[in-house]
Subunit: 203 residues, 3 copies
Amino acid sequence: MFLALLTYVGIVVFAASGALAGVRRRLELFGVCVVGLTAGLGGGIVRDLLLGVTPPVSFDRWTNATVALGASLLVFYVHPHLGRLRGVIGVYDAVGLGLFATTSASYALDLGASHFAAVLIGAVGAVGGGVLRDVLVNEVPLLLRRDLYAVPALLGALVVVVWAALGGPGDLGLLVGTVAATGLRLLGMWRDWNFPVSAVEPT
Amino acid sequence: MFLALLTYVGIVVFAASGALAGVRRRLELFGVCVVGLTAGLGGGIVRDLLLGVTPPVSFDRWTNATVALGASLLVFYVHPHLGRLRGVIGVYDAVGLGLFATTSASYALDLGASHFAAVLIGAVGAVGGGVLRDVLVNEVPLLLRRDLYAVPALLGALVVVVWAALGGPGDLGLLVGTVAATGLRLLGMWRDWNFPVSAVEPT
Amino acid sequence: MFLALLTYVGIVVFAASGALAGVRRRLELFGVCVVGLTAGLGGGIVRDLLLGVTPPVSFDRWTNATVALGASLLVFYVHPHLGRLRGVIGVYDAVGLGLFATTSASYALDLGASHFAAVLIGAVGAVGGGVLRDVLVNEVPLLLRRDLYAVPALLGALVVVVWAALGGPGDLGLLVGTVAATGLRLLGMWRDWNFPVSAVEPT
């Protein structure tokens, strides 16, 4: 119950990030909703395709699309008033990242994926929606540009998989993994951690 | 038979739209054909992947690729003479949109997808080829920019699904859905209907 | 054994091409590795999704990702010294193209795909990683712009499929197909063969 609630929070946050990207591109209402739906549901759809779950869950469960659509509409109509929420949105985004990483990894394990596959699929589930969002609006994905974004996702998925391999209770593993991933992401944002750029430009 | 013929018309129209986009980008002959094939077959391939049909039908049925390739070659060599056909192409495109939406939805139902999934998969099958085309040539997808494009696709798929749920004969449902979707698309083009753009630009 | 070795050579070459594209885009280390992994493993992942192999092999076999990651790191740290290797990389890339085309086609046949599907899936497996790489870094795919790139891939896959249909020994077919595809690609590079561009720009 708590888990399902958190999943919807993740969808809302990612859908809002997509809708905001659409508004910035001056898209019409419908285009904004499409980018919002893509960002909110895309990670889970890619995860399902990698796991052979067809149709993907978001195509069967109407609540996912409805929640993502609602968040997109909200952003479209109230974004001028979102200014002060920007910092908070960064926090929600970090929570969504952690949550999608751990729930996707756990879902992959449940469907019989290997440990290695579960870690990768967890990370792809966490970052996939954002990549699709950026490809749609024709930008180099934030994943590639942003400081330390996918590493927390890998960490969260890894915690879940190791925890499960050690026989720990699943719900607690999800919680620990999410806290670890979200915490590392927030720490990276706060400390402005970055990976190096190559020193010499290729000719 | 009539249905199969219309499906090929849809592939031809979408392949031609892709090839034209490639010509505009000054691609070589082969690149033009690749974009044409992607636009003509992409929607069906995405639909099949979402439904777990592997390999996708267009990889198994050589006629689909052949028809799309022929349309691409035709556009490459005769596009300077297409000027006057532009308006007519808009009509064919609307027909293709309606047809792909209804046949994809019907196909999804046949494979046991839920009603909700069939509507979404119908719409994705109708717009998917165009999105892949635009991503390949590095543009923001028309789907996101164009007035009222995906709504007719959703309508067509919805008509097919509701019709089937009410127990109506399938062929007639396909026809009604296609007419509804194509009609709404043409009406939107004729009346220049648009969705609103957000009033305030985010800072 | 020899085949497995060559497969890893293919992954290394494509991963290096992706990492180099990332370095040129001034991405951070992590982004460079993501593009490298995408280019090195993407073709195989797309091939597996088209064939219904889930999770894709590269998600289950840790060696693939490790090799691609190693190649990406190498490029990131030593690319300033790669200048003289550029010509050689073109050769490796041609080898990778041929190898991915033939092994993907052979793999598709083993999984029961039709002859037609095996040829197409072989070509997609060979060019898919490069297309994903270019879409990620927001460029029109080289596949669409480059002289005579996908034709050798189609040839290599075709040789494998015809060879198998004639009952020839599989390993030899892989070798002949790879030599044919790589040879045609190198010949095209050497002779600077190009497809025509449409004479008239559409208005």
